[in-house]
């Protein structure tokens, strides 16, 4: 899959869900892309590099979200 196509797919899908959910597992993203994990990883890494996505970590688990979205992002700025 082309990177730009992948980016559009992810951004669109994640934006649609914004109201209910802002953090996603890697597997959720791979499913949106309909790609095997290794292929999806390359594309998603690039989205991280370009700051389309950002990581959220509890320490034990890592989730992904659109940069600057979600409760935590607001808290991060005011702190």
């Amino acid at each position: 899959m082309e990177y730009n196509e992948a980016k559009e797919k992810i951004v669109e899908a994640l934006q649609k869900k914004q109201k209910t959910k802002t953090k996603f597992y890697f597997n959720d993203l791979a499913k949106i892309l309909e790609e095997k994990p290794r292929v999806a990883k390359k594309l998603i890494n690039q989205m991280i590099q370009e700051q389309v996505l950002e990581y959220w970590s509890s320490g034990s688990t890592t989730l992904y979200g659109l940069t600057g979205t979600g409760k935590q992002a607001a808290a991060e700025d005011e702190a």
Partner: protein
């Protein structure tokens, strides 16, 4: 005078054991005095506030830390764990209190000078509080603010040749026992393999794409000093295929009391004279030893390399010469689904550079787990859910009796239809001719 009263924490100092509370108070005092004139980049009284918020948690019986965060260094999905306090007005020093994991050197060898550099950096840009070492093996830096993260990372990677470790849904920092560097029991070079795989799997360490955490641990022998068998998704345990080397003269010296059993480790008390029958032969778990007429014999076929006899008489018994390692998979601590020990996947494999065969196994396991693993499912849980046989298929390994504890137990190996002559279909009329209803 302490900034916050901490009567509950003070109690923790009263027992016979060293207390982290005393350590924290000492660090708080050190920062307050600041004899070295450090230009602290985060609040000077961070440790005081840490004690304060902990006291409050004891009082309330609940935590005052929020869960997780976005913080990290650019491009890395692990190594930093965001922590924020939910009482920032009361304890401004710990409003941000992020953890950083520093990838420990293989075998945890360092020079004092290197430790000093690390500590100076952490006094300057963090709380000064460390944990040597976290359970994954990392050097843990406890408590700093968001703006310090990139600064610390830059300093470590550019001037100290030091990387961050793993956290989150990543490969965690591989860890190993001290191995051949100091230990005569080591069956392979744990430092070499740990270091090689840390470099080889940088992408897995820093860019999280696994369903959950994944741990490698390397033990040089079945004594398992890093407890790989109990806590690594993949444990690599040194072993050998040939006979334990026996020095009969030294055996006699143990029996005669000239050599102290367990290298004198239990000499603090008089246990009476050494009884080889009672203390070694009778304790062999597979009953494969015999001591008769001043001669010790071991039936190698039955020996499971439990290390007991070697640990008791290290001068007389030595690991074999045909060495390698066993790979076990699926161990984990009880977070979601109960604790689990590793299951034997590869009974013996040579551990020689460039470790291509071992890498193939690792990567085939990852492919399986990344595709089939549910969110937050450890390898051991997937193994239980889909069966050991599935793992064998995915890794291309042949089933082996050593993977089974005993006949008819470990019922995760099943026949498939195409492996059985005639398949599952039976002619019922033919069957009824010989068997009544």
């Amino acid at each position: 005078m302490a900034k916050h009263e901490t009567p509950l924490l003070d109690q923790l100092e009263s027992g016979p054991w060293p207390s982290f509370v005393s350590d924290l108070k000492q660090e708080a005092e050190k920062r307050a005095k600041n004899e070295k004139g450090v230009e602290f980049q985060i609040p000077e009284d961070v440790v005081e506030d840490l004690l304060g918020v902990l006291e409050l948690s004891y009082k309330h019986g609940r935590t005052h830390w929020k869960h997780g965060g976005i913080v990290g260094v650019f491009g890395y999905g692990g190594g930093v764990i965001g922590r924020y306090c939910d009482q920032p007005e009361k304890f401004p020093g710990v409003a941000h209190f992020h953890t950083m994991r520093v990838n420990q050197p293989a075998g945890k060898f360092y020079k004092a000078e290197y430790l000093r550099e690390l500590c100076d950096l952490w006094d300057f840009r963090g709380s000064g509080i460390t944990n040597m070492h976290g359970s994954t093996g990392d050097i843990i830096f406890i408590g700093t603010t968001t703006p310090q993260l990139e600064e610390i990372f830059y300093e470590m990677t550019h001037n100290m040749n030091q990387d961050l470790g793993g956290s989150g849904s990543n490969l965690r920092t591989p860890s190993d026992c001290i191995g051949q560097a100091r230990c005569e029991y080591a069956c392979y070079d744990t430092q070499a393999i740990c270091h090689t795989f840390t470099n080889e799997y940088q992408d897995e360490l820093h860019r999280p794409a696994f369903p959950y955490k994944f741990k490698f641990k390397f033990d040089g022998c079945p004594n398992c000093c890093v407890a790989s068998i109990a806590r690594a998704d993949m444990s690599f345990v040194g072993t050998w295929r040939d006979d334990i080397r026996i020095d009969q003269k030294a055996v006699k010296a143990y029996v005669g009391g000239e050599l102290a059993p367990n290298a004198g480790a239990h000499a603090g008390r008089d246990w009476g004279s050494f009884d080889i029958q009672k203390e070694v032969v009778d304790l062999c778990p597979t009953e494969c030893m015999r001591y008769e007429g001043d001669k010790l014999e071991i039936n190698t076929k039955e020996c499971t390399r439990c290390m007991h006899c070697i640990n008791v008489m290290p001068r007389a018994l030595r690991i074999g010469n045909d060495r390698g390692l066993s790979i076990l998979v699926g161990a984990k601590a009880p977070i979601l689904d109960g604790a689990q020990m590793g299951s034997l996947l590869v009974p013996f494999i040579k551990a020689e550079e460039p470790y291509d065969e071992i890498k193939e196994i690792i990567e085939s396991i990852w492919d399986w787990w990344m595709e089939e693993g549910k969110n937050r499912e450890r390898l051991g849980e997937l193994l239980k859910r889909q069966g050991f046989q599935k793992l064998l298929e995915m890794t291309g390994l042949e089933p082996d009796p050593r993977m089974v504890q005993e006949p008819r137990s470990n019922p995760y190996i099943f026949w498939k239809e195409d492996e059985v002559e005639g398949g599952w279909e039976r002619d019922i009329d033919e069957f009824r001719k010989h068997h009544q209803r």
